[in-house]
Amino acid sequence: MGGRDATMVLLDKNGIRCDGRKIDEPRKIMIRAGGLKNADGSAYIEFGDNKILVGVFGPRDVHPKHMSNTDTGILRVRYHMEPFSVDERKRPAPSRREIEISKVIKEALEPAVMLEKFPRTAVDVFIEVLQADGGTRCAALTAASVALADAGIPMRDMVAAIASGKVADTIILDVNNEEDQAGQADMPIGYMPSLKKITLLQLDGVLTPEEYKKCVDVGVKGCEIVYELQKKALHDKYFGNRDD
């Protein structure tokens, strides 16, 4: 998260972005369901240069006990970045940014998980960002959905997530780190494609009302691409020819 490089060309005259992508092209995404031995469910995602690991435990007893709810299960999410995941070392203790992201990811997942089936229990989602390169919250949310499904927790849908944004006066899909730093707007979106519901939405940067609607639309379409990769990851593990 360095300073802004004024010399960088974010979008050239042929509509090609600083990392060679077209305006509506996501970065290379690889999702793998499973992988952790002890967790009840897990997933690993590489989203461009982001590398994120998610482990899910539960439904299990709630500690401390007073947090438990007799009507429904609870979801707890911890989003955490490793000190070595960014350019300048990050202090290991949770920052205010990480606490906020944990909360928005939790609220993005809650509509998808049938927590009411497990009163008095907790489902814990641990997200570890091993390497960060812009768009970690979307990649983390995408992987967390796969990990919850991998844990066999009943779900209404999976949440797919990606960011849209504005760079060089153009609405683009999947904002990378450079575009986030030097671009005009960044809008992370989490979306349940089967239920057609937006469960995570944030924006920073200035957009006209028309650009705002276009940004939401581009993001929702991007989520549909991510959704297919999530389903493929689960399919590969449970019906494919993978060794584990």
Binding site: I99, L201, G205
Partner: protein, 275 residues
């Protein structure tokens, strides 16, 4: 606020039943915010301040302006920071101790709305490049709670910043030193206005009060600037919006925000005429 009591459940049923007839529990229209009262310069010792009542929600923002060291990568810009705190006297469920996630979110959403609108022109807040800059700190405390802290805190910070006066500093012996008689208005441009909308059942209501806040399924806070552009957004709560609802909320935030911006402006003008 986080815990749902039996009363809240009963109220939620009542709120939903009323909304099905297009009515709200306090008689407002769905797109109507509560009455806003803005008292500017409530704390004369601060460089700027405002106490805002949004219905029965009561918040106070004080702005302090002082020299600070710049961030290493932005030596040509001053600092702007906004914090928020729920005072223990504001609600029975508020506890002392480290801030809870919902309070951290509140502070960050209010900060982001003002920051992303570029209201405070930080490029004019440099004393000596890479060495010393001016820091503007808008600290907000919640005094009484009746829902929608996002907007109440945002209006208080905006009103306080609009009417803040800053001293001028110059470097003397490598240290910032106040210039006598150099007090001037803080360089501010656009007026960001946040509008929070709650979704209860299939209804979207503007500026949820405490009972509606406890009953809603999810919410979205959208900040617009003086040009009618959208500059920040935060969705929260344990449900989702459809794409159409999000578009509708965008339009509503521009429309409602424009009216509230006029109220903030007239409070500013009234203060400046009398001051």
């Amino acid at each position: 606020m986080a815990t749902v009591s039996v009363i809240d459940q009963l109220k939620k049923t009542q709120i939903l039943e009323l909304l099905e007839q297009g009515k709200r529990i306090d008689g407002r229209a769905l797109d109507e915010p509560r009455e806003i009262s803005i008292e500017i310069n409530a704390i004369p010792k601060a460089n700027g301040s405002a106490r805002v009542y949004l219905g029965d929600t009561d918040v106070l923002c004080g702005v302090k302006i002082q020299p600070d060291r710049p961030f290493p990568d932005t030596g040509d810009k001053g600092l702007f920071m906004c914090t928020a705190e729920l005072l223990p006297l504001s609600h029975p469920t508020v506890e002392t101790g480290p801030p809870q996630p919902h309070v951290i979110e509140l502070a960050r959403v209010v900060d982001r709305g003002i920051r992303e609108s570029h209201m405070v022109d930080v490029t004019q807040l440099v004393i000596e490049k890479d060495k010393s800059v001016v820091g503007v700190f808008a600290d907000i405390v919640v005094i009484d709670y009746d829902g929608n802290l996002f907007d109440a805190c945002s209006y208080a910070a905006t009103a306080a910043l609009l009417t803040s006066k800053t001293p001028t500093w110059e470097m003397v012996d490598d240290q910032p030193s106040v210039v006598e008689g150099g007090e001037k208005q803080l360089p501010v441009s656009t007026i960001p206005v946040s509008v929070t909308m709650g979704k209860i059942g299939n209804n979207i209501v503007v500026d949820p009060n405490g009972d509606e806040w406890a009953s809603m399924d999810c919410r979205v806070t959208i900040t617009t600037d003086s040009d009618g552009n959208i500059c920040a957004l935060q969705k929260g709560g344990s449900d989702g919006f459809t794409q159409e609802e999000i578009n509708e909320c965008g339009d509503m935030s521009v429309k409602v925000g424009a009216k509230i911006r006029e109220q903030i402006k007239s409070a500013q003008q009234e203060y400046q005429q009398n001051g």
